[in-house]
């Protein structure tokens, strides 16, 4: 087991998603019941898409969810995904992804993929110090701002996309809040990594290679997370606390 397999006892993950996309396959839309029959013992709840915005219903996934809400399989015309609301660690999550991926592959004939994605959404609660977000306690993040701008922030909303050897990662860092009572709010940092690798003429992604893409997606995203957090915060995540 290397560092990327470690499951922190105090992990801040609220959602992890692995997704593959492929050119529209009508059979997936018309015969999704054939796939559900194979997983329904584990994913008994069925959630249907609700119309919202401009997205066509056929491109919004049917969700098959475990009774304890811990994992959800999402299927639509051009994508297949598994999400974990309570992330069990990579070993267990990847095992489940590959199990349902295998069943999906037995049901539908998908060959080329258009995109592989991994989403790693963290919510880090914080308490302000003198009205300022104690960012440096949690994250290794430096901003080059003009001298007249204090490097202590009251709020943050940052989104950037970076290239990583054939893949890209959209990183979002944002202060979020939740109403608790009249005039009272809890606050947290949202740290959201959205990894994506798209098919190109030189590098066509294939369904059969998903196990390889899965590992790569996880390893790169986990490494980013590890690079982002401070040793002080890692100490807390590891449970080395009083």
């Amino acid at each position: 087991m290397d560092q990327s397999d470690v499951v922190y006892p105090n992990q801040p993950l609220v959602d992890v998603v692995f997704e593959i996309r492929f050119p529209g396959e009508v059979r997936v839309e018309c015969e999704r019941h054939l796939f559900w029959e194979k997983i329904r013992d584990d994913y008994k709840k069925v959630l249907v898409p609700q119309k919202s915005g401009d997205t066509p219903l056929a491109l919004m996934p049917y969700k098959f969810r475990r009774e304890d809400d811990s994992m959800t399989v999402m299927v639509c015309l051009n994508s297949f995904a598994l999400s974990a609301a309570r992330y069990p660690g990579y070993q267990e999550f990847s095992k489940e992804i590959l199990r349902v991926y295998d069943l999906f592959g037995q049901t539908f004939d998908v060959d080329e993929l258009t995109r592989v994605g991994w989403r790693y959404i963290n919510v880090i609660p914080f308490i302000r110090e003198d009205g300022i977000i104690p960012l440096s306690r949690f994250l290794n993040l430096g901003f080059k701002v003009p001298k007249s701008v204090p490097e202590e922030f009251k709020n943050l909303n940052l989104l950037f996309e970076s290239e990583h050897e054939g893949s890209s990662v959209i990183t979002q860092l944002q202060t979020i809040q939740r109403h608790v009572a009249l005039g009272e709010q809890e606050e947290a940092l949202l740290l959201d990594f959205d990894y994506g690798r798209v098919s190109t003429d030189d590098d066509i992604l294939r369904f059969k290679n998903v196990p390889e893409y899965l590992k790569e997606a996880h390893d790169k995203t986990r490494q980013l997370f590890e690079d982002f957090i401070t040793d002080e915060y890692r100490q807390y995540l590891n449970g080395d606390v009083i």
Binding site: V14, M74, I127, E161, G196, Y233, I242
Partner: protein, 130 residues
Amino acid sequence: MSVAREYIYEELHDYGWSYKKKSDTHQRYEEQHDVPHVKKYPMKEFFSDGKVIVSKRPVVLTVAFEDEQYYATNDNLNIFAVGDSISSVVEDFSHHIVHFYEYYTNKGEDEIVGNALRLKEIYDSFQKLI
């Protein structure tokens, strides 16, 4: 987003501007993330009465909101703090830490036994900056 900012974004959109972002990996649509209502906050520095106490290991404040009050507890240190806001409960928690730091670090090992000895060991590992 303020009304003014929203208005500006709508104006930009009307002029054909849009946000440039690649397609993202599905989140679970239309759902709130399941974030627990009891929060844990790691803290290493505690301020009270002009004194600053620093811990090498993070001290975890388990904060809950009930009956219009915030409660911050740490079972390991036997601390139970109360406040009517997050900042006031942290202030009360810090006050407890500073108070017990002074109490236990000024006690000799031969003066206390059992749980008090365990707490003294923890407080002895803290450092007083001011």
